[in-house]
Symmetry: C2
Subunit: 230 residues, 2 copies
Amino acid sequence: MDVADDALELRRTSTLSTLVAQRLEALILGGRLPPGERLNEVALARELGVSRGPIREAARLLSNHGLVEFIANKGAFVRQIDRGEMLEIYDLRAVLTGHACELAAMRATPAETQALSDLLERMDAATATNDAAGYYGLNLDFHALLMETAKSTRLRSYTEGLNKEAHLYRQVSLQTLPDMEQSNRDHAAIVAAIRAGEAQNARELGEAHVRAGKARFEAAVADALFKDRS
Amino acid sequence: MDVADDALELRRTSTLSTLVAQRLEALILGGRLPPGERLNEVALARELGVSRGPIREAARLLSNHGLVEFIANKGAFVRQIDRGEMLEIYDLRAVLTGHACELAAMRATPAETQALSDLLERMDAATATNDAAGYYGLNLDFHALLMETAKSTRLRSYTEGLNKEAHLYRQVSLQTLPDMEQSNRDHAAIVAAIRAGEAQNARELGEAHVRAGKARFEAAVADALFKDRS
DNA sequence: TTTCTGAAAACTGTTGACAGTTTAATGCCG
DNA sequence: CGGCATTAAACTGTCAACAGTTTTCAGAAA
C-alpha cells in the first residue's frame, strides 16, 4: 500500500472517534492507563479537548478489541488479563501463527521471502552484538511481515488483537525476553520451509515457535511464584 | 451459568446501546438489513424509539464484530463478504475448530462428553427422519457445546464472530447444506476422540470436518458459476 | 470507635440541537 | 436532449445539557 492509498484510507476512516481510539489505545498499551483503571469520560474529554461522545465511541471501539470492558452505569475499564487468559492467548497465537506460516508457504512471493530473509540477517546481526532492543523491534517486524505474507486480513487482525491483549498482563516484568539465538534459529527454519513451499512443515515450525514462548512464560511465572514464597 | 447469573450478567452489561446492538445484529443476520446497506441513523433511531447516540455506539460495537463497516462522513454500512473472504473464514474456522477439539479432548468432563454424545444421537435421529431443519439446529448446538467444552473464551468469541460474518455472504443460497450422514459420521469420530482423550486426533478430525464444508462451498460456487454461463 | 443512614457529589446514559459534509435535485447552457 | 454547475435536502459528526445511577462522605446512633 503506497502513500496515496494511506492518505485516502486515512481520510476514509478517520474521524474524532477513531483518532481518540488510537490515543486511548496508546495510553493503555503504554501503561499510562493501567489494567483495572476506569476510563473517566469527562477527564479524558477535557484532556483530549473533545466532548464525551467521541470518547464513548472510542471506548466501544476498543471494547471488542479486548482492551476495554464495559460495566453498565459504571463505565469503561481497562481489561485485566490473568495468567489463565495469558495461556489462552499463547495457545491461540500458536495456532494462528502456525496457520500464518502455512499460508505464507503457499502464497509468498519471491520478494516476500527475500524480505523475510533480510530481516533474518538483521536479527542475526542484532544477536551477534547482543542488541536486545534492536532484536525486539526486528522480531515484531518479522511476525508482522509473516502475517502480511499470509494475506489473510482476519488472521492479521486477530493476531494483532492478541498481541495487544498480552500487554495487559499485570506483571509486564513476566513478559519474557526470548533467547535470541534459539528464537532466530526458529525463524530461520520457518523461512526455509516457506521458501521451499513446505506448508505443513512451516505450520508446525511456526506453532512450535510460539509454544516455546508459552513455555518460557510458564517457567517465568512459576519462578516468580517460587520467589514470592521463599 | 444458571439463571441468576444470567440476570446479573444482563443487569451488568445491558444498556440501550447493547440492546440496540442486539437488535441491529438480528436485523442484519436476518437479512432485513442486507450487505452493503447503509445504517440510516435517524430512521433506525425513530424505528427503535431511541436517539442517535445509542445507535451510533451499537454500530461501533458491531463494527468490531465485523458485521458493520464505517466510512467517514458517510456512515455505517453492513459489511459485504465476497468469495475470497468466505474462503478465508472457512480456513480460520477449520483451524479454530481443530484447536477447540484438541482442547475439548484435554478438558472435557464426563458430563460434557455425555452431552455431546446425546446430541450425536439426536442428530442421528434427525438424519433418519431426514429432518434437515432439526439437524441444522442440533448442528449449531453441537458446535456451540464443543466450544463450551474447550473452555476458551476467545476461541468461542472468535468462532461466533466468524459464523456471523459468514452470514453476510451475498448469495445465501450458496450456504450449502451438509450431507447429514457424512457430517454426523465426522461428529461421531470427533466425540470418540474427545472421549478417548486423543487430543491430536480430535484436532485433525475437527479441522477436516470444517475443511469438508469449505470444499462443499467451493463446489457450490463453481457450480453456480457454471450455471450462470450456460 | 465502629457501623449504619442519608444526603451530596461525581459520573454515566441518553437526548436534542448545531455544524459540516455528502447526496440528490433543479435549472441552465450547449 | 444531454451534460454540467448550483442549490437544497438529507445525513453524519460533534457538542452541551438533562436524567438517573453509583459512589463518597459526613453525621448520628450503638
